[in-house]
C-alpha cells in the first residue's frame, strides 16, 4: 500500500562498524543514513514513514538508552534495534521495556539483523495503516451534522433509541432516521463497527460520559 523505500538509521561511533553496516544494508536494498554520534542523529528531521534505528548502546556523549528516552519524550515513533558489545541483562531489560524492538549482541549475523529490521518496518507499516484509517474515519466524522454526532454519542454508549429520544426530547422515529444516516456517512455496516471507529478516533475518552 505504501511504495516508500524503507530507511535504516545507523548510529555507531565505530567507523568500521558503521561503514560495514551501511554498505551491507544498502546491498540489501535499504536506504541507509549513518551517524557517528547520537547528537548528529538527533539533529536530523525524520522525514520518512518506514524507518528503523540501529543504535549502539555505548556512545560518546548521549548514549543509546538516552536517545531512546529522548525520542519517547518527544513522541517520535522510531522502532529501535539496539546493538551492544556486551549484552548485560539489566540494560537489555530497560531497553526492551522502553519499547525497543530487540537487543542484539555484537557481532550479530546479517540474517538476525535483517529479520529484526524487517520486524521494525512491519511495525511502521502497521502503524502507518492505522494512521491512514484514522484519517479516513476522521474525514467521515467531519461530515456529520451536530445532531448526528450527538446521536452517535448516544448510540455508542449503548442507549436505546427510545431513551435517546426521550433525553433529546424528540420522537423515536427521528432518532432512527438520524442513526441510519450516521451509519451510512461513517461507512459502518454494524453497530460494532461504529463503536470501533469511535474508539480509534479516541472520541469519548477525555470527556465524561453522558
Amino acid at each position: 500500500m505504501n511504495g516508500e523505500r524503507p530507511t535504516v538509521f545507523v548510529v555507531d561511533d565505530d567507523d568500521s562498524v558503521r561503514r560495514g553496516l551501511e554498505r551491507l544494508l544498502r546491498l540489501r536494498g535499504y536506504r541507509v543514513e549513518s551517524f557517528a554520534s547520537a547528537e548528529e542523529f538527533l539533529q536530523q528531521e525524520i522525514k520518512y514513514q518506514i524507518v528503523c534505528l540501529v543504535l549502539d548502546v555505548t556512545l560518546p556523549g548521549i548514549n543509546g538508552l538516552e536517545v531512546q528516552n529522548f525520542l519517547l519524550q518527544q513522541g517520535i515513533l522510531v522502532p529501535i534495534i539496539f546493538l551492544t558489545g556486551h549484552g548485560d541483562i539489566p540494560t537489555a531489560v530497560r531497553a526492551v521495556k522502553s519499547g525497543a524492538i530487540s537487543f542484539l549482541t555484537k557481532p550479530c549475523g546479517e540474517a538476525e539483523l535483517v529479520s529484526e529490521i524487517e520486524n521494525a518496518f512491519a511495525i511502521c507499516r502497521k502503524e502507518l495503516e492505522t494512521r491512514c484509517e484514522v484519517t479516513d474515519i476522521r474525514h467521515r466524522y467531519a461530515t456529520l451534522t451536530e445532531r448526528e454526532s450527538e446521536i452517535l454519542s448516544f448510540v455508542v454508549s449503548g442507549k436505546l433509541n427510545k431513551q435517546t429520544a426521550s433525553e433529546l426530547g424528540i420522537v423515536e422515529n427521528t432518532v432512527k432516521v438520524h442513526r441510519r444516516r450516521v451509519m451510512r456517512k461513517m461507512h459502518a455496516e454494524s453497530l460494532a463497527e461504529l463503536v470501533k471507529m469511535t474508539q480509534k478516533l479516541n472520541l469519548y475518552q477525555q470527556r465524561p460520559r453522558v
Binding site: 568500521s16 562498524v17 560495514g20 555505548t58 548514549n63 558489545g85 557481532p107 550479530c108 549475523g109
Partner: protein, 513 residues
C-alpha cells in the same frame, strides 16, 4: 740490718769511692747487688726516686718497693741469670716516693774479680712508664683492630695505594682457600688490581666494574664504591656485595670488603616474586571488573568483519560485480582483523603471569595502549580522557605489564573517583614529561572527589581503601612496582578538584642496572 751486708756495703763504698761518684752522677737509677741479689749500694737518683734513705734500702729491704705481683717473676729471671753468671733484663713496677708504681726496666751487668769470680751486679733501672703506656695503647688498638678485622663477617682485605694487598682477615683466607685457580692465591702481597685486570681480560664484567671502582676510591674521586654481583662458586650460586672504602692514612690505600648477601638477595627475589604474583592477581581482578568494556572493545572489529564479509558475499553474488569493490571489502576485513588481534595481544599481555623481564620501554606507547583498552569504559562512564604525551620522552627500563598495570589502576581509580561528578564535567588527563634531567614523570590527574587530607598519606598502605568493596591493594602494588623500577609515586589533591598521581621513573641507563 744484716751485719754482713753492712760490712759488704761499707766495703763496696770504701773500696770503690770513684765508682760510687760515677754511679751517683749517672742520670739513671742504679744499684749494686751482691751475688745473693741483696742491695749493696743505691745511687742518689734511686734514693730520691723511692724517697728512702740509703740504709733503708740495703740488703733485702729494696725489694719491698717492687710491686708484690712482679717480685717472683722478676727474681726468678734474675736468679737464673745469676746462676749462669750472665746479665739479666727484666721489668717490674717500682714504688715511687709518692706511693705510685712506675714501670721500670732493670738490666744487670755481672762484675767479676780478677780471679774470675762473680762479685756483684751493677743494675740500671729506667723508667719505662711512658713507653709502657704507649705499648699498652698499641696493644689495645691492635687488639681492637684484630677484633674488628677478625670478627667481620665479610672477607676483608687492606690494599695499599697501588692495589697490593697488605692485610686480609681470616674470612678472606678461608674463602680464598675454597676457590680454585687464580683466586686461591689472592692473599697478602698480591696486587688486587692485577687480579681484577686478569679477570677482566677473561671477560668478567664484574671485574671490570670492580677495577674501575677501586681505582676511583684509591684516587679519591669517589668516597666509596659499592657493587652487588653474582659469584658462581662450585657449590651454589652466591651473591656478594663488594664495598671499597679509602684507608685513612697519608700513604693512601683502601679497604675491600666482600659481603655474602645471598640470603638477603634470595629474600629480595622472593619478595619480588610475591609482588609479581600479587600484581598479577590484582591485574586480573581489575580486568575482570572491566570485562564488559573489554569484550565490547573486541566485539567492534568482529562486528565489522562480519558485516564486511557478508557484504562481500552479496557483492560476489551480483553478476559483473566490480573487482575493486571486492578488494575494498577484503582490505577492510583484514584491517579489522588486525585491530582485533592488537586488542587480544594487549589483553593477553595483561593477563599473562610469566615475567617478561626488564626492557627499554616507551612510556607514551604503553599509556596509549592502556587508554585504548579503557576507551569504551571511559565512554560508558562519560569520562573525557586526554593524553598530553611529550614526544621527546626518553625511554625507561621496566616491565611493560607492570608499568601498564600502574596506568590501568590509576585510570580505573580516577573513573571511580569521578562517579559523583555530573556528566560532562568528568575529565581525566595523563601527562608525560622529562624531568630532573634524567627522569621521566607521569601525571594522572582527575577532577573527582579527591582524597581527604587525613587519608592522603595512607593511600599507598596495603589494605587501605576508601571503596566499600575495595581490597586496598591496588595502590600498594603500584608503589611496590614503582619502587622496584627505582622510581617514586606520590599523590596530592589538586587546587580545585580531584587528585593528581605523580610517578617519577629513572631514564634508561641512569640509576638502573
Amino acid at each position: 740490718m744484716d751485719a754482713v751486708i753492712e760490712e759488704s756495703a761499707e766495703h763496696f763504698v770504701g773500696t770503690n769511692g770513684q765508682y760510687r761518684s760515677f754511679l751517683d752522677a749517672a742520670p739513671l737509677l742504679m744499684c749494686v747487688l751482691d751475688t745473693q741479689l741483696r742491695g749493696v749500694y743505691f745511687n742518689q737518683n734511686w734514693v730520691s726516686f723511692t724517697g728512702h734513705r740509703q740504709g733503708d734500702l740495703l740488703g733485702d729491704q729494696w725489694v719491698s718497693d717492687i710491686h708484690p705481683q712482679d717480685r717472683d717473676r722478676c727474681f726468678a729471671g734474675m736468679r737464673k741469670a745469676l746462676k749462669a753468671g750472665e746479665r739479666f733484663d727484666s721489668e717490674f713496677r717500682l714504688r715511687r716516693f709518692d706511693g705510685e708504681f712506675c714501670h721500670m726496666s732493670i738490666s744487670g751487668a755481672p762484675q767479676f774479680s780478677r780471679e774470675g769470680r762473680l762479685e756483684h751486679y751493677i743494675s740500671t733501672i729506667t723508667d719505662v712508664s711512658a713507653r709502657k703506656v704507649a705499648e699498652d695503647a698499641l696493644r689495645h688498638s691492635e687488639l681492637h683492630r684484630h677484633a674488628v678485622f677478625g670478627s667481620s663477617v665479610g672477607h676483608v682485605a687492606v690494599i695499599d695505594c697501588a692495589g697490593r694487598i697488605i692485610g686480609v682477615n681470616n674470612n678472606w683466607l678461608r674463602f680464598a682457600r675454597q676457590q680454585s685457580g687464580r683466586l686461591r692465591c689472592v692473599g697478602c702481597g698480591v696486587n688486587y688490581l692485577e687480579v681484577c685486570k686478569c679477570a677482566m681480560n677473561d671477560g668478567d664484567p664484574n671485574a671490570e666494574a670492580a677495577y674501575h671502582g677501586i681505582i676511583a676510591v684509591l684516587n679519591g674521586s669517589v668516597p666509596e664504591f659499592i657493587m652487588e654481583y653474582r659469584c658462581p662458586t662450585p657449590g651454589e650460586e652466591l651473591w656478594f656485595e663488594m664495598v671499597v672504602h679509602p684507608l685513612c692514612r697519608q700513604e693512601g690505600g683502601g679497604i675491600i670488603t666482600h659481603l655474602n648477601i645471598t640470603k638477603r638477595y634470595r629474600a629480595e627475589v622472593q619478595a619480588q616474586t610475591l609482588l609479581h604474583e600479587l600484581a598479577h592477581v590484582s591485574r586480573v581482578a581489575v580486568l575482570g571488573e572491566l570485562t564488559a568494556s573489554v569484550t565490547h572493545e573486541l566485539s567492534q572489529p568482529l562486528m565489522a568483519i562480519q558485516t564486511h564479509a557478508q557484504a562481500a558475499k552479496r557483492v560476489l553474488a551480483i553478476k559483473g560485480a566490480a573487482q575493486s569493490e571486492i578488494e575494498e571489502l577484503v582490505t577492510d576485513i583484514l584491517a579489522d582483523n588486525s585491530r582485533a588481534e592488537r586488542i587480544l595481544q594487549q589483553l593477553r599481555a595483561l593477563l599473562k603471569k610469566g615475567r617478561v623481564g626488564l626492557k627499554p620501554l616507551k612510556v607514551n606507547n604503553l599509556i596509549r595502549n592502556v587508554a585504548d583498552l579503557l576507551e569504551d569504559e571511559a565512554t560508558k562512564r562519560k569520562v573525557k580522557v586526554s593524553l598530553h604525551l611529550d614526544p621527546a620522552l626518553p625511554q625507561v627500563l621496566g616491565e611493560r605489564i607492570q608499568l601498564q598495570q600502574i596506568v590501568l589502576n590509576l585510570m580505573v581509580n580516577a573513573f571511580e573517583a569521578m562517579r559523583g561528578v555530573k556528566t560532562g564535567g568528568r575529565e581525566l588527563a595523563i601527562e608525560t614529561a622529562a624531568v630532573e634531567g634524567d627522569r621521566v614523570s607521569i601525571l594522572v590527574r582527575d577532577n573527582g572527589c579527591g582524597i581527604s587530607s587525613d587519608k592522603v598519606d595512607r593511600v599507598f598502605e596495603p589494605f587501605f581503601t576508601t571503596k566499600p568493596d575495595g581490597l586496598g591493594m591496588g595502590l600498594a602494588i603500584c608503589r611496590s612496582i614503582v619502587e622496584v623500577h627505582g622510581g617514586r609515586i606520590s599523590v596530592a589533591n589538586n587546587a580545585e578538584k580531584g587528585v593528581t598521581f605523580r610517578i617519577v621513573l629513572p631514564v634508561l641507563g641512569k640509576g638502573n642496572l
